[in-house]
């Protein structure tokens, strides 16, 4: 059973072909890693799923429903939550204000998130509820951007390099959070440049290079395949 199905997705920046026939699936409760070097097309894949980069070919389906070509807000309402790489916190708003922007009405059959439930998952945010989001540390901002997207009660979460630039302790927190979110049935597509975090949370992996999926299989198989790792991931 899959919740998110991406079929032969293509995208262009002007004339540059940046995504070529990217196909992948995510099942409910599953964490899937999208691995690749800097500039390989990870962020573009997530943005194309979200409709932020208009796909020039291929399909995006959520629970069988075709979302290709829809506006980003419609895709978000359908149940895909996107957590951008550069966080894009609303620095002028408080933590509570940021969560309010993400709030969507509950949908039957999906986990319903409220600020209080999120504060239980991210205790730091609860303590900083009324603080302007611009005056938070990078780790706290990363928690906030995940929490903000969860307020939309998504069924799939697209996490774009969430651990980039975070302190090791914060990364451990985030790894625990990702696991617990998945255990509640949320499908997660996680883009990462490096293996440690992906290895800790993901069951399957897709490796992308110059906009094409070059390798796919279980995380364990990737860890066993030294040649593939050296070819597609080693810097």
């Amino acid at each position: 059973m899959t919740v998110l199905t991406v079929e032969a997705l293509n995208a262009h920046y002007g004339r540059a072909h940046v995504l070529a026939d990217v196909s992948l699936t995510v099942a409910p409760g599953e964490v899937v890693a999208l691995l690749g070097r800097n500039g390989a097309g990870k962020s573009t894949t997530l943005k194309a799923i979200m409709g932020l980069v208009p796909p020039t070919g291929g399909r995006v389906r959520l629970d069988g429903r075709d979302l290709t070509g829809r506006a980003p807000f419609e895709i978000a309402r359908a149940g895909i939550g996107w957590v951008p790489e550069d966080r894009r916190i609303f620095t002028d708003l408080t933590v509570a204000g940021n969560l309010e922007v993400g709030r969507r009405p509950p949908v039957a059959g999906r986990t319903v998130w409220t600020p209080d439930r999120l504060f239980a998952v991210f205790p730091a945010l609860g303590r900083l509820k009324d603080r302007p989001a611009g005056r938070m540390s990078g780790g706290e901002q990363q928690m906030l951007t995940v929490a903000r997207t969860l307020m939309g009660n998504p069924s799939v979460l697209l996490l774009d390099e969430p651990t980039e630039g975070l302190a090791p302790v914060v990364v451990e927190d985030l790894v625990r959070t990702i696991r617990s979110l998945a255990s509640e049935g949320l499908g997660i597509l996680l883009s990462e440049q490096t293996l440690p975090v992906a290895r800790a949370v993901a069951g399957r992996a897709f490796v992308i290079e110059t906009g094409r999926i070059r390798w796919e299989g279980s995380m364990a198989a990737l860890m066993a395949d030294d040649a593939a790792r050296a070819r597609h991931l080693a810097v």
Binding site: Y13, L52, F73, F90, V101
Partner: protein, 612 residues
């Protein structure tokens, strides 16, 4: 002392209406990133609609306050129509193209208002219950003015509550910072944009309607108020409602006291303050560095390439026609051709700084008019003949470019555009108010060419030679190493600096080159008309230039040329055929923007690309 207090109070009353207009403008810009030129038109419509509802309301049932309320509602509705029918379709178009579209709306509203309410100024009734004066410090002060003083802070408080205490306000503030992210969180940005535009329109309508008991209504209200509102918004900081209030009070006081201290240069004073604020605080008093309006990710500026073979052949044919045609034209045709040639150079010089330079100017009339005044003053003050006058024009404009450019190139985007507008308004005010030297509104007359060039045909060829020469020189500069450096600085200032390009100096030089060429065009224009007037420096002249460049397409080199010829031709034909030429021109602009968001030449280039 008492007198000064009263003066301050009347400054506060003006500040209130200014704030209402500016707050709407600022909110709209913050969320949609559209510089809404039509905001002044909404203000004007609010005033005229209020007049109609109050004086001729259904059975007089509305009364004064009912009429005001009806006018506000009607203006809001008009705002909704503009947003839904026009702006919603062009949010993805380049920023300046949106500006052009709103200017099309300005033209349409001007002619519609003229057709509906006629050219004469209208006087409204006094406000019931607020007639007569009150006594403050033993001085009489109009009660209505006192009421207006309260309206500003009241609206500020309401807006604050709306923005800080409601979900809608939270969404608006979030969208002001990053509208793409707001969309990705499931917020329908179209409804949000419409809502903000309607709110802004209602505020403009309210400001206009409240003017009814205060001053006569005229068809010039629109551009007058929108210029002031731009100043207020930019001084206060784009997108900041509190900043708009602060700046409105500042500008209101400046008007009130400036007229006492420097009656001659009140107009200069306002723009001087704006220039100083922008140089000291480039983002306005309470503004924040604007995160680039995150456009949907995609390709950046297209690469400019030398003309392809077909374009080259087409250009050569057009050029040969231009050279061969004049002897066969009547006098009228020759006059039109002279105008066209001059405007081609004017547009090309504006394009040089806007396209490759990435510096949009709302005040390109400044170098043009300064060039014209340079020629005329060389004649009036030194008795210089045309040959010297034509050299004085680019020289004077270039000097002005050096001075203005030093300030302007420090800024970017809308702030830069506003500063150029400020300088153009300063130049206009000087020409308008320094009567002893410039002749003020009467202008300088008798600026005729030397004897050998007095024949229209000869002068036409002289103009053609200089304008085509100048245009080709600009084109040459775009592909020179200097032009490459300029384009590099536009696309990525940081990387350009890192490879050793002095971006600031290059931009400054481009600013001066554009000024020199516009000055030459202005000088030629002065001798072609035989006179020089402050209108050469006016906003509408600057806007003409913008329309030409944007109509043709800012991303192509042939664009400004095509645009200038199309614009002059269109205007010339329309004024002959119909009184409603502004309406037709406005509709044409709006139609063109909707049909070809990349401009005429851009559309042709895209077509050629597709065929290949």
């Amino acid at each position: 002392m008492e007198f000064l207090v009263l003066q301050a109070l009347s400054g506060l009353a003006s500040a209130s209406s200014l704030f209402l207009v500016a707050a709407g403008l600022s909110l709209i810009f913050g969320v949609t990133r559209i510089v809404n030129f039509a905001h002044g038109s909404l203000y004007m419509l609010g005033a005229y609609l209020a007049w109609t509802f109050v004086e001729h309301g259904p059975g007089g049932a509305l009364g004064f306050w009912g009429g005001i309320a009806a006018a506000v509602a009607a203006t809001a509705l008009i705002g909704a129509v503009i947003e839904i029918l026009l702006l919603r379709r062009i949010y993805r178009a380049p920023e300046l193209f949106q500006l052009l579209a709103t200017f099309g709306v300005v033209l349409i509203v001007q002619d519609l208002a003229l057709a509906i309410w006629g050219p004469q100024d209208l006087l409204g009734p006094r406000a019931p219950g607020l007639r007569g004066p009150i006594t403050i410090l033993g001085q009489r002060f109009p009660l209505y003015e006192a009421f207006l003083i309260l309206v500003g802070p009241a609206v500020l408080a309401l807006l604050w509550l709306l923005l800080n205490r409601t979900r809608w306000g939270t969404l608006v503030r979030a969208a002001t910072q990053d509208r793409e992210m707001v969309g990705a969180l499931g917020v329908d940005h179209r409804r949000l944009f419409t809502g903000v535009f309607v709110l802004g329109s209602a505020l403009a309508g309210l400001a206009g309607a409240l003017q009814l008991p205060r001053e006569g209504l005229s068809l010039h209200m629109d551009l007058a108020v929108v210029t002031e509102a731009f100043v207020v918004v930019v001084v206060g900081g784009l997108g900041s409602v509190g900043g708009a209030f602060l700046a409105a009070v500042l500008i209101g006081q400046l008007h009130a006291f400036g007229i006492l201290v420097f009656p001659k240069i009140t107009l200069v004073l306002v723009f001087l303050v704006m220039a100083v604020v922008l140089v000291l605080r480039p983002h306005g008093l309470l503004g924040r560095p604007q995160a680039e309006a995150r456009a949907p990710s995609g390709a950046g500026e297209p690469v400019l390439r030398p003309a392809t073979r077909p374009v080259r052949i087409l250009g050569t044919v057009a050029l040969l026609c231009a050279i061969a045609l004049p002897p066969f034209l009547g006098d009228y045709g020759r006059v039109v051709m002279i105008d066209m040639a001059i405007l081609v150079l004017f547009a090309a010089s504006l394009h040089f700084m806007m396209g490759p330079g990435g510096m949009a100017s709302f005040g390109h009339a400044a170098p043009f008019g300064i060039g014209a005044y340079g020629s005329a003053l060389a004649l009036k003050l030194a008795g210089a003949p045309m040959e010297v006058g034509l050299a004085a024009a680019p020289f004077a404009a270039g000097l002005a470019g050096v001075a203005f450019g030093w300030f302007c190139v420090r800024l970017s985007g809308v702030y830069l555009a506003m500063l150029t507008l400020a300088f153009a308004q300063i130049a206009w005010s000087v020409a308008f108010q320094w009567v002893e030297v410039t002749g003020g509104d009467n202008g300088l007359l008798g600026v005729w060419p030397s004897d050998w060039a007095r024949d229209r045909l000869v002068y036409l060829y002289l103009t053609l030679a200089l304008c085509l020469g100048g245009t080709l020189l600009l084109r040459r500069a775009i592909f020179s190493p200097f032009g490459m450096a300029l384009r590099a600085g536009r696309d990525s200032p940081l990387r350009a600096e890192a490879i050793g390009i002095p971006v600031g100096a290059v931009r400054w030089a481009a600013f001066v080159i554009a000024a020199v060429m516009a000055g030459l065009a202005g000088g030629l224009f002065a001798y072609a008309k035989g006179s020089v007037f402050p209108t050469y420096l006016s906003i509408s002249k600057s806007v003409d230039g913008l329309v030409m460049v944007l109509l043709g397409g800012v991303r192509t080199i042939s664009g400004p040329i095509v645009g200038a010829v199309a614009f002059t031709g269109l205007e010339e034909q329309l004024t002959r055929v119909t009184d409603l030429w502004r309406l037709v021109l406005g509709l044409a602009i709006v139609g063109l923007v909707l049909a070809f968001p990349a401009g005429l030449a851009g559309a042709a280039a895209a077509l050629a690309e597709r065929r290949r």
